[in-house]
Symmetry: D2
Subunit: 365 residues, 4 copies
């Protein structure tokens, strides 16, 4: 009966206007209404990623992981890839690339910190990499990497740079053009605040032309198969490769409309203000923050429990009406929890979260 | 303003009760409500596919094509695969397998007909196949293959048989156990009548154990990565591999509940009765049916236009409030249209479709 | 499971876009969003009733009957009222006025016909009336009265004329200004196509000033209590007399928006075309129409069953997925049924209704 | 963009499950689904009012004011009525009765207090009253009257007792049978948590028989006209007097179902706990409570601003995402605000409200 506030990793705080926009009985993938929703949403993807006309946006069925794997479209047999990982979801890139006939190398950071530009630069001794991938906000710790600097370093040793913005796009400044990123990708259900089910990407157009027919990717995740659909939708024509999640796209369009009404800068500031209020409060209660000062994201806060039992803490908060996520980084497992403050989160949610944490701690002492 | 009836290939005729069930703000992938919805839906998958406890059901983000490609989980480098194709969506299997290090062979049928058991048997001269895939209802023509007989023949020459039930499951009798199929797969948005965004499969459990770690599949579509999630959900525990499309699963659960209320046999009979009424009516108007008698599906009817202009015909029907799909089989392109009568279609929709066709033909003469 | 088409007297054929517009969690009667919805809806009321700035529109909680009774606001103790009745809902005006200290006189028509201007003129022998009320479309028979002519006659013998447009506004030409009607009223759920729960009126502004504090009405239905609320809403200010049905007003606003997108003339023509197609078809099947030619409304068709059993007929149609209303006029009771084709009805619904009737008749023979 | 929390006087804190239950396209007032929803809701009305089979429940279109006025059904010309008023909404009873040919007497309390049983007893000097009406929770102040004691006193001097539970039913213990109340009434949108648009009553059945045809009420609000409809619905038969707000009834049924899931006692305790937390917090911030200790309701809290500007305070809270109502009692106007904590309010809302008040006060100093 208590309407629980969901401050999980995604979906996080939802919105009924977004979800109701997806309720439409007779909209097919060839119907004008859908084509228009795709067109608007593709423009929305470019905007939240800081892309321009030199990038082609993609909206594909699946999830953030599907979007990640789709960059195999740009890898040829034998290519070398560098994974810059700050935690569990950075490591996932290794699991993906291991399935393909490419060579994978990696740099890893201590939890709470990020790989540094210097560490990337140190890799330049040997052969160049085809692709370097890096995570903007690491979902397992809440650390935000200095992507601009990392890309600058990576461009010295790597043809392509890919930014994994799964936990950042929509809640952090993301600037594909200014950074010089070749691919930025995310999922629909995190800071953008639409339901899950879609991977979103912005890809430099010249990149798509370069590797046509040579990539190691499978069929469903080969972005070349989706390319004519996206190009058509941007021009107001339908197109088909595989059936898109129509309702989810209608919801995504609404999320982008609401983002436009709010203003992207205001939206990012809203996330930042909630993050800052939560961090200050939990530190005031004697708990810690996983991410080092200066590396704290707007979207995810890892909270060190300083000895409190994690499961009891999470249950206590659920009993008070707020659901957080458990900590999953192997090094810190069981010692921290994660608070997602993404999508449609606001100061009322922050107040409720803080009150639930306070009540839980008092109840545990 | 006119509420158009969508008799397309999927989504086809929708239902608001199904879609509204997906509107839920604070349901995360670890929330009890979602775990329960997955559990019910997984049982629903088994039921509409005629599976039993020897099969593990899967619900994965993506589409029918993603479900198709996920059978690469069961192929090893160098395996031979036989594709039994009755049209465009049968041919898609070739496009998929060509991306992997396997050998692909095929059998193809004339539009309106299906590959026969004898043709499959004739393949047995050489080495055995690892896998034979066949399409139950071919979406590009509306032909329904005699899957039971085809599987019987295929089992003589192939270790594994895969039934592509994308356009049949929920509207045709599908009997994994009785047929001895190793994998049956479909998508959420066709005859099951949920929104698009999910691939659904039933896979023989012993098959999953056999190839662990040897398959050629990528990461996202490797069913072994999803296996512990599905096993957990069936036991009422959460689990995570990639974020599932939560709203779409809630809608899918509702579709299965409504299917249960209606009764699966009644549901299939409803599809059959609509198909039969439409076929009789359009034949009575002097148009033809693509599928030969005896091979006509319950879910898709290809209608030969006998010289009428296809685009003018489709536009005329849209103007009268009913949207059909264009004919896409290369041999017949431009000469026929396709009527999808799937999901929540009923006799009122059939009456409206027939009236729209009649009015369009009169308007074109 | 069969999605029944509701062709009843109201609500009749509904629309999900209208209903979903009413789903809004945090909109209070003093919230800007509600004030704006009222303002737009009040303008909508004036438009569908053919009013101008000399009329004040009202949206009050209740129903059509509440709107009817609210005209007691303009009656003083001892006033004489003339009720022009073409059937059951015309007679309801008698039941209302009998509860108040006024004198009631009436003119009644044979079912299928209407009271004529000449009959009204014949009343002029005696004292003048304070108010004459007349029904535009009689819901119990489907007869449409020639209101322009009736008002012209009534104005010779009556200070005020009231048009009961419950079954007409939104589906017929209604022209308060051109007719010289003092009050036009309707309900939200009929041809306007919003959910039930609201009475709608347009009242000449000078009429409201004239009887302030002298009317015989009760408290809730005294339009003077609602007047400042409506005047405020029109100027974008909130106001309160009793809590308005907020969701229903949000839906009503959406119905008016959709009416604007369609165009009021197109909307009325849509109702007319459906009525005409149904009437032609049922006459072609050997059934009759209650309303005489020339008096058939766009919104309700009474169908004489010519000996078929009414309950069996209605059940047969419900079994085929279309729900009609029973015939309730005492003179013809059991001999006819009523088809409501209001709101969002379209030619697909007409086709389905005709098919259901045809199937039912064949099944009964 | 900020999802404002509405803590107004009704609708107060809403719930999407309740509102989505009202979205149903093809449900007419004669459809089984509606009849069942009425039956369940009528039982729900009895339960939350503490009625039993000797009471007939009513659900009528309109609002709380309409429900109040409908008790004129039980008054005859010349009857004497006693109004026990603790504030603005108590006084509204005077405005209602003044429109009818009855004699009205009243007792009034100082804001923050209630009329006492002794004051009622003091009225017994003269002729007996036909009816005494009293407000359980006064919406303009948040004072909860000791209804059991007041009724006991009133029964010495009055044939009938009517409890106005508009701001209490669903959030306070209401016990028609135990108290011996003849009528208890409320509205759908307050503590019951359904959308506005319905008046709800429980009426002693023998009362309905006693005054048939003698009451002073109008037509729409004469409960005898609604009586056969309610009796029919309770037996699972349809019935018609005026078109009911179908969607709103479907939502009301869902609200009662959720109330059943929560348990009525738990529901009342939830309201009490929120009220108590808010009162303690605002007192801790140096603000006052309008209602005297011991007279504070579970559902409405009047907060004395102790010199802070009311409009600035309300705007400050709206800017922080929480909407309260202005104070409207004439004696205290401008000096206090009202917090509605009704319906689906929970501790998260309380936390957010308290944080918004704290932030606003800090911002004003």
């Amino acid at each position: 009966m208590v309407r629980r506030i969901l401050m999980h990793m995604g979906p996080s705080v939802g919105n009924y206007r977004v979800m109701l926009a997806g309720v439409a009985e007779n909209v097919g993938f060839a119907t004008d209404e859908f084509v228009l929703a795709m067109k608007e949403s593709l423009h929305g993807v470019l905007e939240v990623m800081g892309g321009d006309d030199s990038y082609l946006p993609f909206i594909i069925p699946g999830s953030g992981t599907a979007a990640m794997e789709s960059v195999t479209t740009f890898l040829r047999r034998g290519d070398r890839v560098l994974v810059v990982s700050n935690g569990l979801f950075g490591d996932r890139w290794m699991r993906i690339f291991e399935r393909y006939p490419v060579e994978v190398d990696s740099l890893k950071a201590t939890p709470g910190l990020t790989v540094t530009p210097e560490e990337i630069a140190s890799k330049s001794g040997g052969a160049k990499y085809r692709m370097t991938v890096m995570t903007h906000v690491e979902t397992s710790t809440g650390v935000r990497a200095p992507v601009a600097e990392l890309i600058e370093a990576a461009r010295q040793i790597s043809e392509l740079t890919v930014v994994d913005g799964v936990a950042s796009v929509g809640g952090e400044n993301v600037e594909a053009v200014r950074w010089g990123a070749d691919v930025v990708l995310t999922a629909s259900q995190k800071a953008i605040g639409a339901p899950p089910g879609l991977g979103l990407l912005a890809v430099r157009r010249n990149l798509l032309a370069g590797v046509k027919g040579e990539g190691v990717s499978g069929y469903f995740l080969d972005l070349h198969n989706w390319q004519p659909v996206m190009e058509g939708m941007l021009e107001g024509r339908g197109g088909y490769f595989a059936t898109p999640p129509i309702s989810t796209v209608l919801s995504l369009r609404e999320a982008f409309r609401m983002s436009g009404e709010e203003g992207l800068e205001n939206r990012i500031e809203r996330h930042r203000a909630v993050a800052s209020r939560i961090a200050d409060s939990v530190e005031g209660m004697g708990l810690g923050i996983v991410a080092s000062p200066g590396l704290r994201s707007n979207t995810v806060t890892g909270v060190m429990l300083n000895g409190l039992d994690m499961n009891a803490f999470l249950s206590g908060c659920i009993g008070r009406g707020v659901e957080f996520a458990s900590g999953v980084h192997p090094v810190l497992k069981g010692k921290y929890i994660r608070i997602g403050h993404m999508g449609w989160v606001n100061q009322n949610d922050a107040a409720a979260a803080i009150a639930a944490i306070r009540g839980t701690i008092e109840g545990m002492n």
